[in-house]
């Protein structure tokens, strides 16, 4: 018997497509996520148990579990053995996505712009060589860009890429984010390692970002890897701390 206080928005799952290319578990998890974010499943709601969901949807339990797990992984649901599955109390929302700052800004509806300060080929110093796993002194693409949102400077981005990306043009960089350009070339970033910190701005940085000389900067250093596990990009960026910050959701395994 199912407890009376459980919820399951059955109507959302009437049109599951078993023939198309979209996995069943994804169809279920995305509809469920929408129901949670819209408030249809309020914080604290208890979902029906997995067996019951199985019967409602006509799919197997591992598939149901995978759908639920997707939402547990992003911190929207909490599972407890012997208890059930509940919507988390906090309306925690965004995740630090594996996207570029450019896309972050687009999503916040401030018009992003890019000024390319440096775009050349240099020999890798020890740090760049180590990060990109190329020999010291080999050629790498070097970028320095200034990023604006709604006309206001908010970040200075310095990046290094393997020489294979030497044919990226300055025009492309002015129009799009780096990750967009990479994706258009069939390169997908799969894993990234980031180090977030803070330091004083130097004179050049404070002038460009329109802040006080010596004022605080938020910094991020990142190495990104593609599908094949190859290092694709190393960069160290700095941000106006009153215009940008990093949001993360951590979920215990």
């Amino acid at each position: 018997m199912v407890s009376a206080d459980t919820v399951w928005p059955d109507h959302l799952f009437a049109d599951l497509d078993r023939t198309g290319p979209i996995p069943l578990y994804f169809q279920v998890s995305s509809r469920l996520e929408a129901a949670i974010r819209s408030g249809e499943l309020p914080p604290g709601s208890r979902l029906e148990n997995e067996i019951a969901i199985t019967q409602h949807l006509g799919i197997s339990r591992p598939t149901v579990r995978r759908a639920i797990q997707e939402l547990v992984d992003i911190g929207l649901l909490v599972r407890r053995r012997g208890i059930g599955t509940q919507v988390v109390q906090g309306q925690i929302t965004r995740q630090v996505e594996l996207t570029s700052l450019y896309e972050d800004l687009k999503n916040t509806a401030r018009e992003p712009g890019t000024k390319v300060l440096i775009h050349d080929i240099v020999e890798a110093d020890e740090i760049v060589a180590e990060r990109l796993r190329v020999p010291v002194g080999s050629n790498v693409v070097h970028l320095r860009r200034q990023r604006t949102a709604g006309g206001v400077s908010i970040a200075i981005l310095e990046n290094y890429l393997p020489e294979a990306f030497g044919d990226i043009t300055t025009e492309q960089l002015q129009l799009r984010g780096l990750y967009q350009i990479l994706r258009a070339r069939g390169v997908t970033i799969r894993v990234a390692n980031q180090l977030i910190g803070a330091r004083r701005a130097d004179t050049d940085e404070s002038t460009r970002l329109g802040i006080d000389d010596g004022g605080p900067l938020l910094t991020m250093e990142r190495v990104a890897y593609d599908n094949a596990g190859e290092a694709i990009e190393y960069g160290h960026h700095c941000y106006r701390p009153d215009m940008y910050s990093f949001e993360t959701t951590l979920v215990a395994r």
Copy 2:
């Protein structure tokens, strides 16, 4: 037929325990992780395919897949359909764990210390009430602590907890990290939402942390939730940026 250039450290898996309480997939993934981190499986190595591993270990394919998935999730392995599974090139290592600063510091072998500056019960203002999901004006525990490592001040931590934690003693707080105390009471943090930024230090902060007045501070604001999805802790912390930074590994889904 298995390609000649694949690797599988079969000897590591001779003693899998099928009767004990430790899940098979975890036994496999943790041994595999150790082999990767030790360098026994160097970056770029191709693992044997999943069917072959199934036969080597005498376990089913979903179990093998789950073990591999654990390491994909932390950025150690990369899977490609039609290609296989490989060790990531970069030695991605630590993760921002769901632990307190205290434990972070212990792991880096600098002796952590805590000075309790404030420990009282206050009425929740609007922000605290919203974060902890309690009524405005209801009682909450208020903490302000100064954290040292090897005798050097590195952070000021301000936290709010529901009144149910009013029996935590100042002595406990001096000896242990907050999350340790919570765990000892049977409270496990499951989900946390963090916002990381930077700002200027005020005079009190700069004095306590031994930095210049107005110098840069790394800041973190966090709300943490337990197994049941209940808000357990809200805090805003600041760190000496030359002594502490945040490391994250992001993995695309």
